[in-house]
């Protein structure tokens, strides 16, 4: 159970980091009108966003968390 929660926690945090990077890349790319801006949005930003969302979805599917908030504090 602890291993499962730890797995969820790591995936959760990693997916958050990936999503923040992806969203920042998207935001920066929107300041520039150039094919490279589109490429960076599509390849880099899209890659991070896709990986982040998939990691989050996999974490809630394969590592379901406890619904007790105290479990988070106990870690």
């Amino acid at each position: 159970m602890n291993a499962g929660r730890r797995g969820f926690s790591v995936s959760f945090r990693l997916s958050g980091i990936l999503l923040v990077i992806g969203l920042c890349v998207e935001a920066i790319s929107l300041f520039w009108i150039h094919p490279l801006a589109f490429l960076s949005f599509f390849v880099v930003g899209g890659g991070f966003l896709g990986a982040g969302v998939l990691l989050y979805l996999s974490s809630i599917i394969f590592h379901p968390s406890s619904t007790n908030p105290n479990d988070w504090h106990a870690r």
């Binding site: 926690s9 958050g16 923040v20 969203l23 009108i33 150039h34 094919p35 599509f42 969302v53």
Partner: protein, 204 residues
Amino acid sequence: MPGPLAILFVLLGTTIILLVVLQLRAPLTATPAGKILAFLAFCALPILCGFWGLNEHLERSKQTAFCLSCHIMQPYGRSLYADDPMYIPAAHSQNHRIPAEEACYTCHTDYAMYGTIRVKLHGLRHIYVQYFGTPMNPIHLYDPYNNRECLHCHAGARSFENPTHMALLDQIKTNSLSCVSSGCHDTIHNVASIDKVKIWRPQE
């Protein structure tokens, strides 16, 4: 009223803030309401931002400035300012027969069903060739220019329905005679000689 881009930036900022808050306050996600909030922040909002951003980038890729941001396209952009009515792109752009800010896209899109998707895929090929391959020298269209793109606007127009066009209409519609063939409207971008042509400068 804020434009779509401003709303997108607000959405991006909100999503980033939500993600950071949920990272710092992970126990929030243990409650049912927190789980819904986490689903929004980690899944629904990023997907929405991604598709909205993609749409924004696709709309921007229609802009003349986008096409001309590549060095190889700059002589073609210059030809839009040729001070000579025989230059077809210049005559169209300068007289606003097409939107000047989307001049390239308006004439070089594909007005067939799913044509926009097809030209966007061509655009990706342009980017690939520009950055990972060797661009054609001189560059040219992948396929012969289709009269359909001219007829999209000109068909049925009073100025188009003259005896010459009417006599050749079947050939024009079937592409067996190109609008840009020699003897018709054959002065297109002519980038090889664009440096010798007087350039029109629009008044601010």
